[in-house]
C-alpha cells in the first residue's frame, strides 16, 4: 500500500487530509511538527510526504532538505503545503527539493490529485 506522511501543525488540516487520503486507499501517517515529522519519515519510509512550511521545531523547508540528504529517503516525493505565495518562496521551495507546491487555503481533492501525480512521476 502507498504510504503518505502528513506533517502539519494544524490538526484540522491534518485530519481532513488523513480522512481524504485514507478514503483513496493510501496508508496515512501524521505528525504535528517538523522534528517528529522527519523522525516519522525515517521510521515509516513513506512514498510521499506532504509538508507544511511554517511549523514548530523544524520548518518544512528544513525537513525537505534533510529528507533529500538522507539516502533512504532521497527519492521520496515531497509536496509543500503553505500560505507563502511569493515567487521567491516558491523558488526556495523547489530549490530545497520539493516536487510540488500547494498554496493554502487548499482543496483536499486537488491535494489527492497532486499526490497521485507525484507518485506517477516517481514510478519508473
Amino acid at each position: 500500500m502507498t504510504r503518505v506522511l502528513i506533517v502539519d501543525d494544524d490538526p484540522d488540516i491534518r485530519e481532513l487530509m488523513e480522512f481524504k487520503l485514507n478514503q483513496m486507499g493510501f496508508e496515512v501517517h501524521t505528525e504535528g511538527d517538523g522534528e517528529s515529522g522527519y523522525a516519522a519519515a525515517c521510521d515509516v519510509l513513506p512514498d510521499v510526504v506532504v509538508l507544511d512550511w511554517m511549523m514548530p521545531k523544524l520548518s518544512g523547508l528544513e525537513v525537505c532538505a534533510q529528507l533529500r540528504a538522507t539516502p533512504a529517503l532521497e527519492r521520496v516525493g515531497v509536496i509543500l503545503l503553505t500560505g507563502k505565495s511569493q515567487e521567491a518562496d516558491v523558488q526556495r521551495g523547489f530549490a530545497a527539493g520539493a516536487d510540488d507546491y500547494i498554496l493554502k487555503p487548499f482543496s483536499p481533492r486537488e491535494l489527492v490529485s497532486r499526490v497521485e501525480a507525484v507518485l506517477a512521476r516517481r514510478t519508473p
Binding site: 523547508l61 530549490a95 482543496s107 486537488e110
Partner: protein
C-alpha cells in the same frame, strides 16, 4: 462598649461580603470549567464526524444533525473555523452546511445585535462564508458606531470578494469611518475588477481616497488608468496623493508613463522628484538616462534615487554611472555609491542563497 460593638459588626459584615465574593468567584470558575469541559467533549465528538463527512465524495450534509442547541452551535463554530483553510468544492460544502443549518441567517441577524462584539463577530463570519446575498448586511456595518465593528466589516467585505462592495468601502474611507490601511487591504482582495471604479474615484474624492486608489491601481498594473494617474502625479494639490500617483506610474510600467514621470522629475517638492527617479528606474526607461544624470546634481535624496535608478537601466545605465563615477564631481560620488550598492545587492541575491536555505 458601643464603639467595640460597631467595629465587630462592621468586621462581621466585611467578612460576610468577602465570603460571598469568594463563593461567587468559585461558582463562576466552576461554571466556566464545566462549560469548557462540555464544549471540549462536544468538539471532540463532532470534529471527526464533520471532517469525515467533508472528506467523502458527494457528502450527505443532513446526516450531521447534532442533538441540542448547544451542540449545534459548536458544530457551526467548527465548520466556520474550517472556512479560511479550504477552497474549492470542499469549501463550498462547508458553506452549504452552514446555510442549511441556518448559521448564515443567524449571522445576518447578529449584525443588528446590541453587543458590538457580536456584530463584529457576525461580520467576520459572513466575510469568511463569502455569500453574495449577505453583502448588504455587512456593508451596513461600515456605518456602525464602534470603530472596531466598522473595521471588521471592511475586512469582511474584502474577504467576500464582491466588487459591488468597492463604492461602500471608498465612501467609508472618504468619510473617515475606516482607516486607509484596512480599506486598502479590503480593496486589494477584491482584485483588479475594482480598477474602473478606483479610476473614477480618482477624480472626485478626498486625498486619502486618492492615495489608496493610486496605490491599488499601480499594484493592479492598470494601464488604462495611466492618464488619470498622470494627472494626479503632475497637478494634484495633495502631497501624498502625488507621491502615490508617481509610485503607481512606476509600478504600471507602461511606456505611456515615461512623459509624466519626466515632468515629475522637475516637480517643486524634492520627495516627488526622488519618487519620480525611482519610478523611472522601475520603468526601465533608458530614454530617461540624460534626465537622471542631470538629477545627480539635485538634492541628496533625489541624487541618491537617480543614481540607484540608473543601475536599474541595464548596461547603458551602468556604463553611464561608471563614466560619471570616474569624475571628481559630486555626481560622481553618487554614481560610485550606487555602483557599490548594486554590486553588493547582486552578491546578496546570487542563486547560492537558495542552496544555502
Amino acid at each position: 462598649m458601643t464603639y467595640n460593638v460597631s467595629i465587630s459588626i462592621a468586621l462581621a459584615v466585611l467578612a460576610g461580603i468577602l465570603a460571598l465574593l469568594t463563593i461567587a468567584t468559585a461558582m463562576r470558575r466552576a461554571f466556566v470549567n464545566a462549560h469548557d469541559r462540555r464544549q471540549g467533549r462536544l468538539e471532540a465528538a463532532l470534529r471527526p464526524r464533520l471532517l469525515r463527512l467533508l472528506a467523502t465524495e458527494d457528502p450527505d450534509l443532513d446526516a450531521l444533525a447534532p442533538q441540542g442547541k448547544h451542540a449545534g452551535r459548536v458544530l457551526d463554530a467548527l465548520a466556520a473555523g474550517l472556512l479560511p483553510k479550504l477552497r474549492g468544492s470542499d469549501r463550498a460544502g462547508v458553506v452549504e452546511l452552514l446555510e442549511r443549518r441556518g448559521a448564515v441567517d443567524r449571522a445576518c441577524r447578529a449584525t443588528m445585535s446590541r453587543r458590538a462584539v457580536l456584530r463584529a463577530r457576525a461580520a467576520e463570519q459572513l466575510g469568511n462564508i463569502g455569500l453574495h446575498r449577505t453583502q448588504p448586511d455587512v456593508a451596513r456595518l461600515l456605518h456602525d458606531r464602534h470603530p472596531e465593528v466598522r473595521a471588521a466589516a471592511a475586512r469582511a467585505l474584502g474577504k467576500q470578494g464582491d466588487v459591488e462592495s468597492a463604492p461602500s468601502l471608498l465612501r467609508a474611507l472618504d468619510n473617515g469611518l475606516v482607516p486607509a490601511n484596512v480599506v486598502s487591504m479590503a480593496l486589494m482582495r477584491l482584485g483588479d475588477r475594482s480598477a474602473p471604479l478606483l479610476e473614477m474615484t480618482l477624480r472626485e474624492s478626498s486625498v486619502p481616497s486618492r492615495v489608496v486608489c493610486c496605490e491599488l491601481l499601480g499594484l493592479f498594473g492598470a494601464v488604462g488608468a495611466v492618464p488619470a494617474i498622470a494627472a494626479i502625479a503632475t497637478t494634484d494639490p495633495g502631497y501624498w496623493s502625488r507621491l502615490a500617483a508617481i509610485r503607481a506610474l512606476g509600478r504600471i510600467g507602461s511606456p505611456k508613463c515615461l512623459a509624466p514621470l519626466l515632468t515629475c522629475l522637475h516637480a517643486d517638492r524634492h520627495a516627488h522628484r526622488a519618487e519620480a527617479a525611482r519610478a523611472l528606474g522601475r520603468l526601465g526607461a533608458t530614454d530617461a538616462i540624460a534626465e537622471l544624470v542631470a538629477a545627480l546634481d539635485d538634492e541628496h535624496d533625489v541624487a541618491f534615487a537617480a543614481a540607484a535608478a540608473l543601475t536599474a537601466l541595464g548596461p547603458e545605465g551602468m556604463r553611464t554611472l561608471e563614466t560619471i563615477g570616474a569624475t571628481p564631481l559630486r555626481a560622481g560620488r553618487y554614481a560610485t555609491e550606487a555602483l557599490i550598492v548594486h554590486a553588493l545587492e547582486h552578491e546578496r541575491h546570487a542563486p547560492s542563497q537558495f542552496a544555502a536555505a
